[in-house]
Subunit: 118 residues, 4 copies
């Protein structure tokens, strides 16, 4: 059984899926980045006409929820593949970026203000 | 210390970062989807002029690698936030989508053929 | 002087810009699609934290407007390049897609209802 | 008859299509930016597994070409809507951005070198 909280175990599942289909040949970093754009596009497609004021509630409707979970799954799978292919550690990338952002957005001056565009 | 292999621990770190800045007010599912489009756009920006034939090697150059790790960090942070906000489990979404894809792309007929566009 | 209402004249300007820099070598359809993802990501970056209820007004603030015009320019330039490279006519693609959408969304049944996701 | 080379005439067609369905209510700048991310995602989906070395030829296959024309149509329609909604002139945005890029990438030093990421 896969421990669904473990990035390494999820990554193993994802890589095994591709290996069994001989799909690593398509999964260079460039193609994975494009595929991420495609799947994040589908995520945006689901929510594009839902106004901000409704969207926290809308994501709990059954049909919306199923589509959202499927798209989150697609994005997550591709991101794990990209990490594996490039040798970048998912969790370390998260922690490192949070540190960068902590320096960039100190709590005292950033509270309640949206991040500046990067 | 955060266990960087644990999705729940990484999620706690990410949510703590936002809470300390009172940023949850900006992080509804719609805004997070747009932010994902923005960050995946930056990932594509890095690799847009690198040809397929060079990109596995290019991602190991120092400057490229640092930018790539930063963008992967941004995408991962937003994806964890989206899961938290919507109550969708990251790991379960991965496993469920792999199951869907297994049914859609049986090994015997899919080997070496790129996935059909979804 | 370029007639800024003429797609063919704008396309000539865009192609001349690239030719003078010997950049056509980078502008195959795949790379242009990635570059479009990058620039549309920047467009999303600008508006990601602006709520629906404020955004029609927000786009008239000077700084926002300048950034928006620059990003729209980037997206338009890439789209004209993609049309030129693939031999697809921008205006004919618009008219053909409007016809497809007219068949798909008849006025009588579509009035006031958001498009279904494609 | 619409002059398919005229941005203003294409824009009129696009806006008439939306007005007849009472869809302007969904087309604020934020929603249009998300919809652009969705459609550019579909464009990336089409080309994600096609290597650079094949893609100029691949876009002439009939099925690929039809899908590509449809996606270019979708992106162009949304971009014209965004210009109309924000009061930004498509052609002027192109010319202004080319001027900015000319200053940023002088011919003498930029020839044959890919643009730096913006």
């Amino acid at each position: 059984m896969t421990d669904t909280n473990s990035i390494s175990q999820l990554t193993d599942r994802v890589c095994d899926f591709s290996r069994r289909r001989d799909w690593e040949q398509f999964h260079d970093p460039k193609n994975l980045a494009m595929a991420l754009a495609a799947e994040v596009g589908e995520l945006n497609s689901i929510l594009r006409w839902v106004p901000n004021s409704d969207c926290d509630e809308a994501v709990h409707e059954t049909g919306m929820r199923q589509r959202l979970e499927a798209e989150i799954g697609d994005v997550a799978i591709l991101l794990l593949q990209l990490c594996e292919r490039t040798g970048i550690d998912f969790g370390e990338a998260v922690v490192a970026k949070l540190q960068t952002n902590s320096d960039r957005y100190p709590e005292a001056v950033s509270r309640g203000l949206p991040e500046r565009p990067s």
